[in-house]
């Protein structure tokens, strides 16, 4: 099966080579980071988690979102999703791999990472995160491989894969819930210490992930003979609409509790994000951009005409994805540390090496998606462009 990813035209190989180059640059800077230490990032004593962990948090959501097409198809027989479940599962494999890579590059002593396995610590959420992420990776690798092999033989998948799929549905919910628990159980960080964090994570995951899936389907339609079908795309768009509406609603709930209670420990973080705090306002323009993107995208999605139109749907999906990426990938993690437990403010911005390492990991994920989708489409004979 894998050999299908090794044959392609100039366009394909140009794309692959570009990705490999970006990965190479990222790898080079990672070696530099191993040599000098995490000090080459923008993190500090006050903001001790930054871009890497934020990307991991965002991508767990994308990985979990496969469940939004798998669940309707397998549990409720929504036939339109038959062609796209494999795309969701393969996207999940790439996304979880990127998550694990972002965690590894964030570790100060990565060669000791097996200590989490050698000294299991059930009272640590990070331990469970390791378990659920690797489990989810394994599940999706097994499911996607078995499905593709069965398709190639023109048969139905073996019966034993059904319970594995059901398990992956439950597991998808768990990976993002456990990731939220990393944050929402810390008394030290009032910005994260909220019961709504896990529901927020899930709502934003189930809007950003399927939005990405729609964009990927549209790209595939442009570059291959694969067509997900109007039914599938319109149904996924509906899922994105409802999930995004819930996500925006949850954010408004957070804003109310913080600003109405006027408790400084809660208000300060939101002030930092949207107005600035004591002259520090690095994230303010980004957060307002996220708000505008969210509102505009939601309006485009709620209106059936603009949800159906290809251009408006594309714009809305890009808007949803970008809005949530800013919210989770820039705003959420750093703001937990601003101000610090002593009320002092240290701002954060990723440095160039940090950014290049992150882009390298994203390029690796893109390469995986490219190769996997190529294999899947080739198996189905839907490759030609």
């Amino acid at each position: 099966m894998l050999e299908k990813a090794l044959s392609g035209d100039r366009r394909y190989w140009s794309w692959v080579v570009v990705l490999l180059a970006i990965i190479g640059v990222g790898f080079f800077y990672y070696l530099k980071q191993l040599h000098i230490g995490l000090g080459i990032t923008g993190m500090s004593r006050d903001v001790s988690w930054g871009f890497y962990i934020a990307q991991f948090t965002f991508l767990v959501g994308v990985a979990a979102s496969a469940v939004m097409v798998v669940l309707p198809y397998y549990l409720h027989n929504v036939k339109e999703f038959g062609k796209v479940t494999i795309l969701g599962e393969l996207l999940a494999v790439s996304a979880v791999t990127m998550c694990l890579l972002f965690i590894v590059v964030d570790l100060g002593q990565p060669q000791r990472m097996l200590n989490i396995v050698l000294h299991p610590t059930p009272h640590s959420i990070l331990f469970w995160d390791m378990v659920v992420l690797n489990g989810y990776l394994l599940l999706n690798v097994v499911i996607s491989r078995v499905s593709l092999l069965a398709e190639r033989r023109g048969e139905a998948p073996p019966v034993w894969v059904q319970p594995v799929v059901y398990l992956s549905i439950l597991w998808a919910i768990s990976i993002h819930t456990v990731t939220a628990f990393i944050y929402s159980g810390l008394a030290a960080r009032p910005f994260w210490l909220t019961a709504i964090l896990a529901p927020r994570f899930l709502a934003s995951a189930f809007s950003s992930g399927p939005a990405l899936l729609i964009l990927l389907c549209l790209i595939l339609r442009r570059f291959s003979r694969f067509d997900a079908g109007e039914g599938a795309i319109s149904k996924i768009a509906l899922i994105v609409t409802y999930a995004m509406a819930v996500n925006v609603f949850f954010i408004l709930m957070e804003l109310f509790t913080a600003f109405y209670s006027e408790i400084p420990a809660h208000v300060e973080h939101f002030k930092y994000l949207f107005i600035g705090l004591e002259g520090h306002h690095r994230l303010v323009p980004w957060m307002w951009a996220s708000v505008i993107l969210a509102v505009v995208s939601l309006l485009l999605l709620v209106n059936p005409r603009t949800r159906r139109g290809k251009t408006t749907l594309t714009l809305a999906c890009i808007g949803v994805f970008a809005s949530i990426w800013i919210d989770k990938g820039l705003g959420m993690v750093v703001t937990g540390f601003v101000p610090n437990p002593l009320g002092e403010i240290t701002e954060y911005w990723p440095t160039l090496p940090e950014t290049l390492i992150s882009v390298g990991i994203y390029a690796l994920g893109a390469l995986m998606v490219t190769a996997f989708y190529r294999i899947a489409l080739a198996e189905r004979g839907e490759l030609g462009a």
Binding site: D106, R112, H119, S124, I182, P341, L342
Partner: protein, 252 residues
Amino acid sequence: MTVDRRGFFKLAGLTVLGLELPVLGAAQKPGKPLEEPLEGRRWGMVVDLAACHEHPECTRCIEACNHAHNVPRIPDRKHEIKWIWKEPFGHAFPSQGSRYLPEDLAEKPALLMCNHCDNPPCVRVCPTQATWKREDGVVMMDWHRCIGCRYCIAACPYGSRSFNWVDPRQYLKEPNPDFPTRTKGVVEKCNLCEERLAEGRVPACVEACPYGALHFGDLADPDSPVRRLLEERFAIRRKPGLGTEPQVFYLV
């Protein structure tokens, strides 16, 4: 089964290690007898802020700790490492601040360090048990096991922990040979001088304070100096509402 010479010695060595019965016929190693460790069930500290405030320029405790433990002095504030340091009262005790604080408290700093909490959130979150609470109350660090995930830093409500963003040795001009340094990529914090407790000595900061502002003792012993101090004078702790049960008390 044949055992070769190397295998025999390996087996012999392991057996001896297991029984801890070393060398035959060697003379007693010369030198002073080993000191007895301090005995205690719940170590804690009391900081007399009033006494400390009478000498606001003094930093002897900080220097003693930094020297004893090779804590580097890093000019870039983002990468600084602090085990014990001074902080304005309003920062250390945000719930106690008001605009009507006595001038003395408002203007002079408090001395901060790891609180060696009874219910430490940092221990709860560590995925490798590189930090744990010892039976006698010290929240310990194992720098051999730490993977540098910095979850403990996120969990600490007091900002007591520091991460080695770069190699600390470049900032140590004259390291103290009696204590290791750390390396880049691990988290560190005040260790309540557990290596000194094992030799029967009080923490370096307590020993260094010339004004009796720092007190160390067994909180489980009602006759200990720290307990008697706490009976005589009112003490506050940092962020008591979080349920961490810090074991560092401040007399105001």
